[in-house]
């Protein structure tokens, strides 16, 4: 009935899952940076490791779900917890998909956009990175979530602004590019932007979950 062993096991799995997400978003940032600087072998290495992390995160999430439901742990909170894990899993999924799109579509990124795209990637990365301490706090110190997630909103807003600026620059100032290339660049800007949107979604969920956890 009171399964401390199962509880400790699921704690370990959740912590490990959060570590994978953390590492995944770091690899995404590295991958984009390597692609832009033309470091193909490192990019491929990042892509491979990120794919592995994504698979491992999926497995861990399923294991946690299995334990929470079969052991009837936290009947009132498990739905929310699983939703949070799904949102976080969505971040690493998006990161992997984005990197794969770089690998498959090989977008042409003009030199004058290098810095902008690197900055956008950094902002998206920071938005996702800021969700992690808040997610960890939910499990031990829900009262501190609020003071942690405001960064996510800031980075997400900044990423939105920069993405708009990049798209404007591509369509208004870069006349030497073909329309197809412009579209391609717009899609890649959008892909990176979506990552920060996913972080914002997780942050929204966390803020509601924090309220629910106050006794």
């Amino acid at each position: 009935m009171f399964t401390f062993r199962q509880a400790d096991k699921s704690i370990e799995l959740i912590d490990s899952f959060l570590d994978k997400i953390d590492q995944g978003i770091l690899l995404f940032k590295e991958g984009v940076s390597n692609y832009i600087s033309g470091n193909q072998s490192s990019f491929q290495d990042n892509l491979k490791t990120l794919s592995m992390l994504e698979v491992e995160a999926d497995i861990l999430r399923r294991k946690v779900e299995n334990i929470l439901y079969t052991q009837s742990l936290m009947p009132q909170l498990r739905g929310d917890i699983m939703k949070l894990l799904e949102e976080l899993d969505n971040i690493i999924d998006l990161a992997k998909k984005n990197l794969y799109q770089f690998d498959v579509e090989i977008p042409l990124i003009p030199g004058e956009l290098h810095q902008d795209l690197l900055k956008l990637t950094d902002l998206a990365f920071r938005a996702c990175e800021s969700v992690m301490p808040a997610s960890r706090a939910y499990f031990r110190d829900p009262a501190s979530i609020k003071e942690k997630i405001h960064r996510v909103y800031l980075y997400e807003k900044e990423a939105d602004k920069l993405a708009d600026a990049i798209k404007r620059k591509v369509f208004h100032d870069m006349h030497n590019l073909k329309l197809s290339e412009k579209f391609h660049l717009r899609y890649f800007t959008l892909h990176i932007e979506h990552l920060s949107d996913a972080a914002e979604k997780a942050a929204d969920l966390l803020s509601i979950m924090a309220i629910k956890r106050t006794i």
Binding site: Q76, R140, I215
Partner: protein, 581 residues
């Protein structure tokens, strides 16, 4: 027998209390699925009975001293009136308290019999109706602050906290059930105390007197109520009025348990008196009202808008409406019982107002029964049964696990078998492919050998003609012979190039036929396909032999093999079949 009949109304009240009030203790835990109903019912039943038997006397004495009910029929009518009041008000969705109903019914009895109720006791009881919820509010507020501070300080993981909460809910629930039994048994059996059998049962570790046996019956009636009807109430309450976080549920249950305990513990009262403090009155209080007070206490500290006038109004209405309805109901019921059934609703000997009631008649003698040996035997039997049950359960679990393992192994074996058969069929296909390749190579070699033989024959013929030419004496004959040889060689060369051009043309014009043939019969070799194409052109065996550079006999053999490969009967026509493709 008559005693048991009269007691039935009390037992009915007990059943009603169990089915309704157990939800105050385990409602949230069961409603939120933190604890299974089976576990909750078992814990609640055990602790209600223990509380009732070992700590129920205080409240019962107070209640008894309010009206001094001294006739069984009177007690029966009071209990029945209280039970019906509770039933009717619950049906109508009005807030009701068993404690207030029973007090109202006793007042009704007093009014009917003309006896003066003890106003001091009445004041004491009524004051607890107010102080009970207030104390609940105070305790829950304090416990809430303590819990909140502790939780923020220790920062325990939510999953571990969940396990602690489960343990907490069980412990708090057990305490709550104990206090509920101790405090509320007075409502159920209080009016029958004077008629309790004058016996005592010695169980070795403890001795139960007649009143405690009466309370044991009442406790069992409450337990029956918990088992038979409280699940629905718990689930409704847990998802409705008491729908709160499990942490808050522990606080509410604990606060309620403490209040009920305070109003039922004679030891605590003695202790307070001993140290010179005013004791808590030992009075049955409404657990529902204490719970409402506790919920409001948490709301007060949180500063939320959970305090609504409806809840407070509900308690207020309960204070006034319940006793009044019960008193009126009891009054009329007593009139009916006395005048229709001619039953004695009070002892005429005690009908002098203000006189101390002697409940025990001189004739009654105390009878002690030693139950140590039967108790030991019963306990041993229970232990053995539980042990056997546990063993059987373990065995069943082991068997289930083994079955599951076997099932999984079987599935694994099946998968492996399928995999093996797939491997075998793929090996067989590879083997057949190799065989076909081998056969095709063999045929190529045969063709090559045939070609070589043909060329050798041709060269022999040239050689022979050359020999003949050399024997010619005349130059013109010689030249003619050489010319003839040259023509033969030229013809031969032209035929070889024509043959390859012919094949190229045939393949081009019969491309669809070849594709169809390949898709329908993928096992056919190049030789077979070539033969089929030539048959489609309606060429004779001899012509085919020339074109393929093999003997007519070999063509016949090839046709026979092709027929077999195409799956045709011996009598079927190969030409017709090929033309239909």
């Amino acid at each position: 027998m008559l005693f048991l009949l009269f007691l039935s109304s009390g037992l009915f009240l007990g059943w009603s209390l169990g089915s309704n009030d157990a939800a105050n203790v385990f409602g949230t835990a069961v409603g939120s699925r933190m604890i299974k109903f089976r576990v909750a019912a078992l814990i609640a039943s055990i602790f209600v009975v223990i509380g009732a038997v070992f700590q129920g006397k205080g409240g019962a004495e107070t209640l008894n001293s309010l009206g001094m009910v001294d006739a069984l029929a009177g007690g029966f009518t009071i209990s029945l009136s209280a039970a019906f009041t509770v039933l009717i008000m619950t049906k109508r969705g009005l807030p009701v308290s068993t404690s207030q109903a029973i007090v109202g019914a006793i007042i009704g009895w007093n009014l009917f019999t003309g006896r003066q109720p003890d106003l001091g006791v009445l004041t004491k009881i009524v004051s607890t109706w107010v102080s009970g919820p207030l104390l609940g509010m105070l305790f829950s507020a304090l416990l809430y602050l303590l819990f909140k501070r502790t939780l923020s300080k220790i920062q325990v993981h939510v999953i571990r906290l969940d396990t602690y909460i489960r343990i907490g809910l069980v412990v708090a629930g057990a305490f709550g059930a104990y206090s509920l039994g101790a405090n509320n048994i007075a409502n159920v059996m209080g009016v029958f105390v004077h008629a309790a059998p004058d016996i005592s049962l010695d169980f070795g570790i403890f001795v139960l007197d007649g009143t405690q046996l009466l309370f044991l019956m009442g406790g069992l009636a409450i337990a029956l109520g918990i088992y038979t009807y409280s699940e629905k109430v718990m689930k409704t309450v847990g998802n409705g009025i008491l729908s709160m976080s499990p942490e808050a549920a522990i606080i509410v249950v604990l606060a309620q348990a403490v209040v009920l305990f305070l109003f039922s513990s004679s030891s605590l009262s003695d202790l307070l008196m001993h140290i010179g403090l005013p004791p808590f009155p030992l009075v049955p209080v409404s657990s529902t009202q204490v719970v409402v007070g506790s919920v409001l206490g948490i709301g007060l500290v949180k500063g939320s808008r959970e305090i609504n006038s409806k809840s407070l109004g509900g308690i207020g209405l309960g204070w006034i409406a319940t006793p009044v309805i019960a008193a009126v109901f009891c009054f009329f019921a007593l009139f009916f019982v006395q005048n229709v059934f001619h039953l004695e609703i009070s002892n005429p000997l005690n009908n002098i107002a203000g006189q101390q009631i002697a409940v025990d008649t001189p004739e009654r003698t105390s009878k002690a029964i030693n139950l140590i040996l039967p108790g030991i035997i019963l306990a041993s039997a229970i232990i053995i049964i539980v042990f056997i049950w546990l063993l059987a359960r373990q065995q069943q679990l082991r068997l289930t696990a083994e079955n599951e393992l076997l099932h999984q192994q079987n599935q694994l074996y099946q998968t492996q078998r399928n995999l093996n058969s797939m491997e075998i069929s793929s090996m067989q296909s590879a083997y057949e492919l190799l065989n076909m390749k081998h056969e095709s190579k063999r045929k190529e070699f045969i063709d090559m050998a045939n070609n070589l033989t043909e060329q050798r024959l041709f060269l022999d013929e040239i050689n022979k003609l050359l020999d003949e030419s050399l024997t010619k004496d005349k130059l013109s004959d010689y030249q003619e012979s050489i010319q003839n040889i040259q023509n033969i060689i030229h013809q031969k060369l032209t035929f070889a190039s024509e043959k390859s051009t012919f094949y190229a043309e045939v393949e081009k014009t019969h491309k669809d036929f070849k594709i169809k043939l390949e898709s329908k019969y993928p096992d056919l070799s190049e030789h077979d396909k070539k033969l089929a194409t030539l048959i489609r052109l309606d060429l004779s065996n001899k012509e085919i032999a020339t074109l393929m550079g093999i003997s007519p006999k070999s063509v016949e053999v090839s046709r026979y093999r092709l027929k077999k490969k195409l799956g045709l009967e011996k009598d079927s026509s190969l030409i017709e079949f090929i033309n239909q493709i």
